[in-house]
Symmetry: C2
Subunit: 146 residues, 2 copies
DNA sequence: TATTGTTATACTCTATAACTATA
DNA sequence: TATAGTTATAGAGTATAACAATA
């Protein structure tokens, strides 16, 4: 099989395309996709997310999350709040402005993403999504003590 | 739809997983996936590939290809040869050692890739590959004068 | 005038190690 | 002793701009 049909190569190129398209869509809101992913997650959370949990879900090193939260904090989109349960932990919560920006950003990003996936029908996009979800295997083991 | 189901996010995570797995597989041969992709392409080519064509197929900037070919050249895996047709163009061709290394590297990389895609059946992997190919749209316009 | 390869530069992303404060 | 957050650093990847040789 020719190299250009290699599934890893195709995945890498496709991912790059989607990231570039999303970054372009988010530029108007002053965001990049990694910052946006943190903002989106904390906007979906009820009481805020610890940086450790953000790192796990996003597949990033905790030290990277620090920088991303710093960016969002500086932009006034999120805040760090002390966790009532554990004084080591900081819960990242969105500000009102953060929620508003997230909503606009989501619309723009989704529109561009749909565009970038225009070669596929809606059903095919759904198939692709399901297959990717199984490759990634986000089944985070429930956090019970071992 | 929760952010973790976003197709762009899933693609990015999946791509990262595959790249890491492939890089780990290639480490024994002293290669990384980007260098390997150049080596694989020139090994498949009859008379060698120009750096411009490599850049187009790989979706890279020509200046990045210079560095990758430099790496492979330094390792004795490829050579730059003058094109008989155009003195600006250099054709990148594999050395005998380059071909041998490429063969071993391909085996290792493919094995690891299959492993990383273990959650999917062979048929599902093929479906995924076909969908990705359409997203990427490698249909390079035939190089006829406009 | 346009294209191929090249150099240079800057920024983003990824990967580790080590430190602090808490548990 | 282990975990959450943080700082620091280095390397890899991405993105542009400009230049020489050639078409």
């Amino acid at each position: 099989m020719p190299f250009v049909d290699n599934i890893g190569f195709l995945m890498s190129r496709a991912s790059g395309q989607l990231v570039r398209a999303t970054n372009a869509a988010l530029a108007d809101e002053g965001l990049r996709v990694r910052q946006y992913s943190v903002l989106a997650l904390v906007c979906e959370s009820a009481q805020g997310e610890s940086q450790r949990d953000l790192a796990e879900v996003l597949g990033l090193d905790p030290s990277q999350v620090v920088a991303l939260v710093d960016d969002l904090d500086r932009a006034g989109l999120v805040e760090r709040r002390p966790s009532p349960a554990d004084r080591r932990t900081k819960l990242v919560v969105p500000t009102d402005r953060g929620r508003a920006v997230r909503e606009r950003a989501a619309e723009r990003a989704d529109a561009r993403l749909t565009d970038a996936l225009g070669a596929l029908t809606a059903a095919e996009q759904e198939t692709l999504r399901a297959l990717l979800a199984r490759v990634v295997d986000l089944d985070v083991t429930p956090r019970v003590s071992p």
